[in-house]
């Protein structure tokens, strides 16, 4: 009796799960099998250009990661790029969101224009920056800066990291702005009015009332943003190709170079695995801090 009830329950559970199975199998096939294969390859020495080079190498690929200077530079560049892009775009995004949240003329049009950079294809955006805006011969910026004696500055090559950060900030500011704006719009204007009646000035009410309110939104934006910015590839490929030297080579770009310029599949797989581990650790830590902040906020 109990057995049949249990099996009926089991059947019911399966009937509920069954429609989900195709999606589950699909996700499993396209994410887990390649990942397992990558881990497998990372233990082998395999260069596509050397037929017959495929042989077990143990931890050799991982060993070379920790002694390779290029990888150290790439990790540093990734950190530098992520922190500066997220930091600057959060500040700018907050400022723009504050403006758009107030009663200004042409708000709708302004908001649409502000979102535009996020909607432009990354590759096209980077090309516009590189050729139309920054090209020292026929670019718009050098032309505008000529009266100040900066007419022939080769921004992309002389200040490569600054250029990449600028382009990425340009792309990510609208994203931050949107998320923070959502937070600002949930604010009750009566609270601000009450603060004003109590004699708080604009700076004080921003610091004491608005900022605590939008903080979780800022943190959410920063977390999501950094997961994407860590993987920046398109703009580096189009703008600097990782150079000059290795000045803008981040982890994804280095991986691309090892896999598709050097065709070292084993080594590239090992870098990929290590990159996934690092990203997972950072994301877990960030998420944990985030949730603890949410809980503290909730307890207040």
């Amino acid at each position: 009796m109990r057995a049949t009830a249990a099996s009926a329950l089991g059947r019911e559970a399966w009937a509920r799960r069954l429609p989900l199975l195709p999606a589950f199998i699909y996700v499993f096939l396209v994410t887990q099998i390649p990942f397992v294969l990558t881990i497998y390859y990372s233990f082998f020495s395999w260069n596509l250009l050397k037929p017959g080079s495929f042989h077990f190498a143990g931890l050799e690929n991982y060993g070379s990661i920790f002694t390779n200077e290029s990888i150290r530079i790439a990790v540093w560049n990734t950190v530098l790029l992520t922190i500066s892009v997220i930091g600057i775009s959060v500040v700018l995004g907050l400022a723009v969101a504050m403006i758009l949240n107030s009663e200004v003329f042409g708000k709708g049009l302004m908001r649409t224009l502000m979102i535009a950079p996020f909607l432009i294809m990354p590759t096209a955006g980077a090309l516009i920056w590189k050729d139309t805006l920054l090209n020292p011969l026929f670019g718009l910026l050098p032309y505008l800066l000529t009266p100040f004696g900066l007419g022939r500055v080769d921004w992309v090559n002389q200040y490569p990291m600054v250029t990449v950060v600028t382009v990425e900030v340009w792309r990510w500011t609208p994203f931050m702005m949107l998320i923070i704006l959502a937070g600002l719009q949930s604010q009750n204007p009566e609270v601000l009015e009450a603060a004003r009646v109590d004699g708080a000035n604009a700076v004080q009410s921003f610091r004491r009332i608005t900022l605590p309110l939008v903080r979780p939104f800022i943190e959410l934006g920063a977390l999501l943003g950094s997961l994407f910015v860590v993987q920046t590839f398109d703009s580096i490929f189009m703008l600097t190709f990782g150079g000059p030297g290795e000045d803008t080579t981040n982890i994804p770009f280095l991986l691309y170079l090892v896999a598709f310029q050097g065709f070292s599949i084993g080594e590239a797989s090992a870098i990929g695995v290590v990159a996934v581990i690092i990203t997972t650790i950072v994301a877990t830590l960030a998420l944990r801090t985030l949730f603890s902040i949410f809980q503290i906020e909730a307890r207040r």
């Binding site: 080769d154 994407f228 000059p244 030297g245």
Partner: protein, 436 residues
């Protein structure tokens, strides 16, 4: 290839996707992966002529930029996937891939066609596309390098150049005509072994420098190599184009055509793309020299057939059509004689119409190609072949990295000594693989 797929996914690399999706259709559809250049664009427009003669063969042409073509084709051929039946490969790939058995020996096919006349192919090009005296790819287009200059701009300063100038004369002329609006000379600074390193390597060669000695010891720190790199970068900095770090062939061509540079040292094919004042007032000289004479490079785009192709006869029929004498005439008659793919056949240079159209630079091109020697690129003996490259698998990555270091010098991020030291250590690691 799922592993590679994941690597891309991990990197978040949303790069160019999968390209062509393979044959399909009838059994006689052949797929050609072609480099994106003007000569290939012409080929594409003339395919209908081939189709009308061979209605049983459908030709699908996938054009890709050089670096992407190289990646796609290398993956295809290394994985033996047979996606392409023909591809354009360069003098760099042919001997390497022939040795690995990745591409088909075309000599037996050529022997079957008495009208093909392989002896008409320019000897230097034929040699560069051969492995053990067999042709493994048929040349579609060939080039060397030369100096192009605006005669009007130079003569305004009272400067004339001989046919065989030295680099010192060229540098002096470049500095004399250099102003804030017109640069003295355009030299490629764009990183990449096929971009910046191509002209730079010819300068290294003529200074007497070399990448490796006979025992595969890296020689980048030798005085000749260092002097050549310093000379090249100093010339760019004192009389070169602004934004040199991004200037490749196309950028220099645009600058020269719009009169923003007075001289340009680059591929011989460049002159066929000149327009306006650049076309009317240009002078042409052989690659400038220092110690070694005839320092021009040698390059050819050629049609190769992967061993994995399942339609080899149909593929050869097309390769034969696209590289024989008749095709040259077809291009001249249908598209104009300036469109003729240069540098492949000696007979091209005796066609009166072509001589008239190519005029001043035809002889410089032919002589430069004839004198380029891939086995003796520099003064001292070397263990590798190649003038503007080192014909080993690792050179793509090594060359790209080294050129990035030099680009950093051009941008002012480090000194020549620092760049050479890093380049030497990279080259030493590669050389070690050949020392055992």
């Amino acid at each position: 290839m799922t592993g590679i797929g994941l690597i891309v996914a991990l990197a978040g690399a949303a790069c160019s996707g999968a390209g062509g999706t393979g044959g399909g259709g009838g059994s006689k559809t052949i797929t050609l992966a072609a480099v994106d250049n003007p000569q290939m664009a012409d080929l594409k427009t003339l395919v209908s002529d081939f189709q009308s003669k061979h209605s049983d063969i459908t030709v699908k042409i996938v054009t890709l930029p050089e670096d992407q073509l190289r990646q796609q084709v290398t993956q295809d051929v290394a994985a033996n996937s047979g996606r392409y039946d023909l591809f354009t490969i360069g003098t760099y790939e042919v001997p390497l891939w022939a040795k690995k058995g990745w591409i088909e020996n075309l000599s037996p096919y050529i022997a079957k066609d008495s009208s093909y006349d392989a002896n008409d192919l320019i000897p230097g090009i034929r040699g560069a596309l051969s492995y053990q005296n067999n042709l493994y790819a048929v040349p579609f287009y060939g080039e060397s390098s030369m100096l192009m200059y605006r005669k009007d701009m130079l003569s305004a300063k009272g400067i004339t150049l001989s046919d065989h100038p030295t680099w010192d004369q060229v540098a002096a002329a470049a500095k004399a005509v250099h102003t804030s609006s017109v640069s003295g000379i355009c030299l490629r600074g764009l990183p990449g072994w096929g971009e910046q390193l191509a002209p730079l390597d010819t300068v290294v060669n003529t200074y007497g420098g070399r990448w490796f000695d006979e025992k595969w010891n890296a020689q980048l720190t030798q005085p000749e190599f260092k002097a050549a790199v310093s000379f090249y970068i100093n010339l760019i900095k004192t009389a070169g184009e602004p934004g040199a770090g991004n200037a490749g062939f196309t950028e220099c061509l645009n600058a020269y055509n719009s009169g923003k540079v007075a001289m340009w040292y680059d591929a011989t094919v460049a002159a066929s793309n000149f327009t306006g004042a650049a076309a009317a007032n240009s002078g042409y000289a052989f690659a400038p020299h220092v110690v070694k004479d005839w320092s021009g490079w040698l390059w050819a785009w050629a049609l190769g057939m992967p061993s994995s192709s399942k339609k080899k006869d149909a593929a050869w029929t097309f390769a034969d059509w696209a590289t024989n004498k008749e095709y040259i005439k077809l291009v001249g008659q249908k598209l104009g004689w300036a469109h003729v793919p240069p540098g492949t056949r000696t007979s091209t240079y005796s066609i009166p119409e072509y001589q008239q159209a190519a005029g001043a630079f035809a002889q410089v091109t032919l002589d430069s190609i004839a004198h380029a020697d891939v086995t003796h690129p520099t003064v001292q003996p070397v263990p590798y072949v190649g003038v503007q490259y080192v014909d080993i698998d690792e050179f793509q990555q090594l060359g790209d990295q080294v050129s990035q270091e030099f680009a950093k010098v051009i941008a002012g991020g480090q000194t020549v000594d620092q760049a050479i030291a890093r380049a030497q250590s990279l080259a030493t690691a590669v050389g070690k693989k050949y020392q055992t």
